[in-house]
Symmetry: C2
Subunit: 353 residues, 2 copies
Amino acid sequence: MTRPANDTFLRALLREPVEYTPIWLMRQAGRYLPEYNETRRRAGSFLNLCKNPHLACEVTLQPLARFELDAAILFSDILTVPDAMGLGLYFAEGEGPKFERPLRDEWEIRDLTAPDPNVHLRYVMDAVAEIRRALNNTLPLIGFSGSPWTLACYMVEGGSSSDYRTVKTMLYDRPDLLHRILDVTTTAVISYLNAQIESGAQAVMIFDSWGGALSHAAYREFSLNYMERIIAGLKRSHGGERVPSILFTKGGGQWLEAIAATGCDAVGLDWTTDLGEARQRVGDRVALQGNLDPMVLFTSPEKVAVEARRVLDSYGSETGHIFNLGHGISQFTPPENVAALVHAVHSHSRRGS
Amino acid sequence: MTRPANDTFLRALLREPVEYTPIWLMRQAGRYLPEYNETRRRAGSFLNLCKNPHLACEVTLQPLARFELDAAILFSDILTVPDAMGLGLYFAEGEGPKFERPLRDEWEIRDLTAPDPNVHLRYVMDAVAEIRRALNNTLPLIGFSGSPWTLACYMVEGGSSSDYRTVKTMLYDRPDLLHRILDVTTTAVISYLNAQIESGAQAVMIFDSWGGALSHAAYREFSLNYMERIIAGLKRSHGGERVPSILFTKGGGQWLEAIAATGCDAVGLDWTTDLGEARQRVGDRVALQGNLDPMVLFTSPEKVAVEARRVLDSYGSETGHIFNLGHGISQFTPPENVAALVHAVHSHSRRGS
């Protein structure tokens, strides 16, 4: 195995020298692209799209045809693992993800088992393999999973929540039950990500979307500790190449040092953290990924370029920066502003220019 | 004027010695209390309740009759100031606050003027005076306002928002217009809080509920700078007594040092920040208020006591701590758990016990 023709993203993750700052965008294959909406329409539903490797491959490649992005990311949903555990994922129109059978009863929690990713999540592995073939070693492919805490939020609440009341009541009242869910989910995520790596993912990212809702102490006990176990359980290399890992806790800027100490290769940051200060706090232990406010993409190409430069300049000229948004791209984003962003990041960061 | 019989809260704010850690709760007069719902029913609507000084006084006192809280806080809404500016505040059932005339057009923004609080917000001043008479100098009364940025979010979006798209597009695209809104609103908040002080408020708090949605740089430019101007414009004392100020940015833990440098007397913290670390970061410049996760109140009196002790112990035994939640109390909170919280905070923190 060799590195892809454009391996800038992988080099930045490993803090090796790069010619320019690589960029990809969280949710880059998504509803802001008309061609995505067209494929989704053909699929019939979001879940059909996720579960059809051929269509998942098609939408994964769509943003790469439009923009000079430096990485592809598997098109999938973060809730595939609990779905494979039997909770029954579904999407009510305009309401976000829900589970038919949320975890509430003690016996259900005791009975929870980790699925075999090569059986119950075969469609994901098939998509990874198909995307790798389609990419033909031009660009690296990122695999991903939700963090155990974030998955547990959905599994216990049964959907998204504004205050996490049900799962937090369990956390404070019956921490043993929540730890049981997190333990099984951690085992599941480790084998899920390793199966993605074996199927061809060249880097992996853990999305801890709701870690920022936890108290300082609870974050360590119920989210970070489990992510650290995942990092320790991941295959570090495949086919002779290192497979770097990225850990992203939305709202986790205060806990950056602890996140960087988990053994991950890179930390994702939202826009509330200054990249230069973050660099000073973590030294050269990890690469940093981020962190433009996605709302900047609602202005104009000129303003997008100004704000992109601001983010690049806040990081400085060292290697170890992967440009991204601080959160997933909004479905209402005008695609021409994404083109302006990619261009601005590449041209402003080109070394020696 | 003399300090109230129980001035523990004021002493803690000024980092003077106290016998125990004082406690009050954000939104302590609210929907979790059956007697509040009864008064609100009589008022006909939430807005009628806010605008009737007699009923506002009644609900302000309700939690004090049930729990041994160490401060009263004016019952009002954070959006009274933009309402007095003519934006037309209303509450659609189950939908939160909205404005009939959100700020969108440049001419509307240029025409914006600060209201005279003693004319257009007379009902608030009357409520403050009536609450002070009713309290009869037993407990201190806290006045409050929303921060300019938080008010601007509602004024531009026209209601609450999940992504602040409209106001952030203005921020990045037409910062001059947003600065104009913030400038007028800052002038309005200064005179509003000073009028509350003259009417009898013995401490004031600024709620920056949405400051945490801003980027690191934008927070300073569009929220913190204006709050600093408010602090500088506040009457420092009234009737010979210091009137301390509290500044609370939800999600602002990363920016604690900058917040503490505004000249405020105390900083409110949500539950994501460890109080002991916060104390080390700010030294003895400010008192700290917070920071129990409101979801702890959904467990049992025993668990509430355990978590309350954890927060007290994280702060340590020095003065300068005011116990509170890290956010407003949930409407679904069982009142008996609030009683357990108040009792636990007082008994565990009593000096020499």
